[in-house]
Point group: C2
Chain length 287, copies 2
């Protein structure tokens, strides 16, 4: 549950969380399942909404109180300022993947303690693709565990500040090369409103951000990108062409998400909205 | 003359200046002329180099001492830190366009006092395209004069920080709309290594920066972009397609310039280098 203040809006106890953002984004292309933990105070209508959209919640367990975050953004909305974090349920999160889900072929390890990320990969039965995200907190507090978790992933996705911090270079091409040495064959560096760059087998793909006239709240955009990207790949064949299209679809879903507070725009988003903006995006970069 | 220190190099009294960067970039596509002022201390070989490349220097006048700038960049090379500025010749710059040059169809007003920029436009005989650049110093010290200068231009090019400052919004789409209200029908916002966005008639074109593994010195990249952009347009017909290709050519020349200290890479650049990177750039953004 997130409470967020931006120059353009204010929400209290709104539906938030990486798993929710990523699964709603992936759900446009595949049938995702969430592994997470909530509290008894988590509003029933949110679980109902997720299930009604076809998202599998069998691996969502229930503890006493839901994780809560409150944060704010200044006019330059590239970085959130955390006002308060209540870990609550996350303090006792010890994920168990039900037997029915261990053969899930594509796994997105959202930002969390890298030892938990590793425990999830180890419960999976030979997944085709594991994608991992992280944040600066784990880079400073658990760097070795994080490197171990990254080594088990096929795809690393992280933002530019984290990439510079983790690989100790200001240069993103060099950061991506260092990341590939840890194991992942694909590295995606997210740059907020400046888009993202994908590195794969000495090839680059650069996707500028979709220019938005009204940005209200960037919370969850990185997770929308990751979920949209991996969801798209889950339903398309391997190959650089589909990596590129997956980046664009992830970016587009993230761009819609930024237009509303918390997840309010994302939950209403349709496949038609995405296809229309995909056409506009093609025009945006074509020359 | 520039003295520049970056984490990757150090040059003293190197050839610099907007007019030099922009004209060398434009020179790949058209025959530019420079209007500027130097000092008696300006090394002869630099003038010879410019003339040998076919650049018209008839409107370059000579005063006592050349303008000098020294600056440095930290690891994040997006912003220069000025160590020292000696205006010298620029203090007495009162440009006179020779009769032989007043019919020049395309005019790039490099960053300078907006009253001087206006005096140049007013000496020109009905130019087809006037492009104007500026910097934060003029936004804070001469905002009204700057707005007047911008109103006389067809194309405004400025960096994202300046766009936010001049139009008092964090949103670049809104900044571009405000800019269009002043007069220019085309607005280009430069975002350093994150590329640029062109706004024209409700259409956008977003060009990501070319990913570079070795960035040594970003000095002059904005001027290379501007000169390359306008030079390309000078030799191609109007139309959105050519605006897009002009942005890409400007970006590519700027990307080479960043790979050397001061102008050392730019002066050695060939049309073949540009065409090769143009092909790579196409692959970079294609999906």
């Amino acid at each position: 549950m997130d409470s967020i203040k931006t120059p353009f809006g204010n929400v209290q106890n709104a539906l938030g969380g990486s798993a929710m953002y990523a699964s709603l984004a992936a759900n446009f292309f595949t049938r995702p399942a969430i592994c997470s933990i909530i509290g008894k105070d988590f509003p029933k209508e949110h679980m109902q909404m997720l299930k009604s959209k076809g998202i599998n919640c069998d691996a969502v367990t229930v503890a006493e109180k839901t994780f809560r975050w409150s944060g704010m953004y200044e006019y330059d909305m590239n970085e959130a300022k955390t006002l308060k974090t209540e870990l609550n349920a996350l303090m006792e999160f010890n994920p168990k993947i039900p037997a029915s889900l261990t053969k899930t072929p594509n796994v997105f390890l959202g930002n969390l303690d890298p030892t938990i990320q590793v425990s999830i990969v180890e419960q999976m039965d030979n997944p085709q693709k594991v994608m991992i995200d992280t944040m600066n907190f784990w880079i400073s507090s658990k760097k070795q565990d994080l490197k171990k978790a990254i080594s088990k992933a096929d795809i690393l996705v992280l933002n530019e500040g984290e990439a510079r911090m983790l690989f100790e270079t200001s240069n993103l091409v060099q950061a991506a090369k260092s990341a590939e040495k840890l194991g992942p064959k694909t590295v995606i560096i997210k740059k907020g409103e400046n888009g993202s760059i994908l590195f794969h087998n000495d090839e680059f793909f650069a996707a500028p951000g979709y220019p938005l006239e009204d940005v209200r709240d960037p919370t969850g955009c990185g997770d929308c990108f990751g979920g949209g990207f991996l969801g798209y790949l889950a339903s398309h064949q391997n190959g650089m062409e589909n990596f590129r299209r997956a980046v664009v679809h992830g970016s587009i879903i993230a761009s819609f998400n930024a237009e509303g507070m918390a997840s309010e725009r994302l939950v209403k988003l349709t496949r038609e909205d995405i296809e229309k903006r995909f056409g506009n995006y093609k025009k945006l970069v074509q020359f």
